[in-house]
Amino acid sequence: MNKSDLLAEQIREISGVNPKKCMKCGKCSATCPSFDKMDIKPHQFVSYVDNDDIEPLTKSKSLWHCLSCFACVERCPRGVKPGKLIDAARQIAERQRGGDYLTPDEIPELFDEDTPQQLIVSAFRRYRK
Amino acid sequence: MPMNDNAEFRPKIVAFCCNWCSYAGADLAGSSRLTYPADVKIIKVPCSCRVNPMFILRAFEKGADGVIMCGCHPGDCHYSTGNYYARRRMTLLFSMLDYIGVEHGRTRVEWVSAAEGVKFSATMNEFVEKIKSLGKNVRLGDLRCRS
């Protein structure tokens, strides 16, 4: 197994998603609130994983724009859960050295007096290992 | 007559074939002249679900070296569901035989349709080879209560 296949296997395992179930209807991308910001769209994530083409996913901007709002997970007629694939790719990116998208020194300038703790905690959980 | 140890081992093999698919598949193998060893003898049953585990054990007891059961492919059973029951029964029986130490491979199930003469012949060739490699069936004959 080459590296890409291994990563694809890892993504399938972490996400628990079977990309083969996808019938390519695009419903996930139809209501994705971050669609415009994504270079690789939710439905494409599924095809990429299915094709064991993982490298572009771990480098994708989309990782940092997915809101984990589960709209794609809820509405997918095939139970494919693209959001879980994006999260798995994010995990892989973050577990690699230098994969974090947020560093503590950025926080002060992003912070205002009303910022709820929840926001910082959540962002840290999603943006770094 | 003295035993000739060098004589080629000719296994006894019983094949249960369902009337609708596999028996017809064997007929097709015949009319296509697709050979397989004469060690295989076919018994016709209406459906694979007619095959009682006792028939299989009986064959072994009487000296068979291998038993194979053939039926319609799952989903194609003439009686709709017979082979599904047969599949469960044989899965459990084979697992049990393996559990008590009888060589894996002395029993086999294959789904052969009426159109698969080639498959029937290939399967039988393969199975005979397998049984030859396992040699004579001693274990099932030996597994008696009184030693």
């Binding site: - | 459990l92 274990r139 597994l143």
Partner: protein, 320 residues
């Protein structure tokens, strides 16, 4: 025990039940035996203690043919057998008055023997009146003690739990006795090489004397006419020592009860040769659970069994 007797007397007196199916003292203190009691007086013979391992469910087949209701005492595991018989229309629920009795694990003389306590004359501490952790055993060679747990039947170490799946009333508490996984032994055998497995079963099954004790006690083996006694398969007993059933009896027996066996363990308990027959049944149970989803015979009195149902995607024979 007194509570059981008192309640039994009430039920006999008010006519709720016509007779009682319970245990009475046997010829030794360690082997109480199943018995019918027809009136309050005869109950003086009644016992319920740690040695009452016998599963009374099967007797309810004949009791269902008698007039009036029969009171039967069932331990939690016994209720599964009863329920399975109910599913197979072998017992009449209307004819049974079930008292679920508490169970703190059942013990046996064989288990005592196995830990080196032989020639048992009497045992104290098996009465179940209090939490009795220690047994005091009087033997020909003097008194000795052992932990109650150490004298327990194998099946109690892997007990399925304290739930009663069918009953009319409950008397007494049950204890948790589990300290093992019930498939461990099966796994151990599966891990052996085929040669070792063959040697193991050959050694065990060779001990069989075909006394049919396992068949007679088994609540799932309740055929009016056993296939091994019938002419329908040319498999009836013959003098010949290597006739069909001599070799295949136990495999076929296990197969016939597959999907119906509640794993009550009675077969192993009664085997005079000490053959661990439950290992065959458990193998089927384990396979069924793994391949077709967890299934517990007797849990429900309705529905198909794993061998009378299927899914389109079932495993192929020989692949497991």
């Amino acid at each position: 025990m007194q509570e059981l007797i008192n309640r039994t007397k009430e039920l006999l007196a008010d006519g709720t039940v016509a007779r009682v199916l319970g245990w009475r003292r046997g010829d030794l203190p360690t082997n109480p035996e199943p018995a019918y009691f027809n009136d309050g007086e005869s109950l003086s013979e009644f016992v319920y203690n740690g040695f009452c391992g016998a599963n009374l469910s099967k007797y309810m087949i004949e009791a269902s043919e008698l007039d009036g209701r029969t009171l039967v005492f069932l331990k939690p595991c016994d209720t599964y057998s009863f329920n399975q018989l109910l599913k197979e229309n072998r017992v009449d629920r209307e004819k049974a008055y079930i008292i679920g009795v508490g169970c703190k694990g059942k013990i046996s003389e064989a288990s005592l023997n196995a830990i080196g306590i032989k020639n048992v004359i009497d045992v104290k501490g098996a009465e179940l009146t209090d939490a009795c952790d220690t047994l005091t055993i009087e033997t020909l060679t003097g008194n000795t003690t052992c932990a109650y747990r150490d004298a327990m039947l194998e099946r109690c170490h892997v007990c399925r739990g304290k739930e009663y799946v069918v009953y009319d009333e409950l008397i007494g508490d049950s204890a948790d006795t589990v300290d093992g996984d019930r498939f461990d032994e099966v796994r151990k055998i599966e891990a052996m090489s085929p040669e070792e497995r063959f040697a193991f079963f050959k050694a065990e099954l060779s001990k069989c004397i075909r006394c049919n004790a396992c068949r007679n006690v088994c609540p799932a083996c309740s055929c009016r006419k056993c296939v091994f006694d019938s002419t329908k398969f040319d498999s009836a007993q013959k003098a010949n020592s290597d006739s069909f059933e001599e070799k295949m009896f136990h495999i076929i027996r296990a197969f016939h009860v597959a999907g119906r066996c509640t794993d009550c363990g009675e077969c192993s308990r009664v085997c005079p040769q000490g053959i661990p027959l439950h290992l065959l049944n458990r193998k089927f149970i384990k396979d069924i659970n793994t391949l077709y989803g967890d299934f517990c015979a007797g849990e429900s009195a309705e529905g198909a069994t794993p061998l009378t149902s299927f899914t389109f995607g079932d495993a192929e024979p020989g692949t497991v």
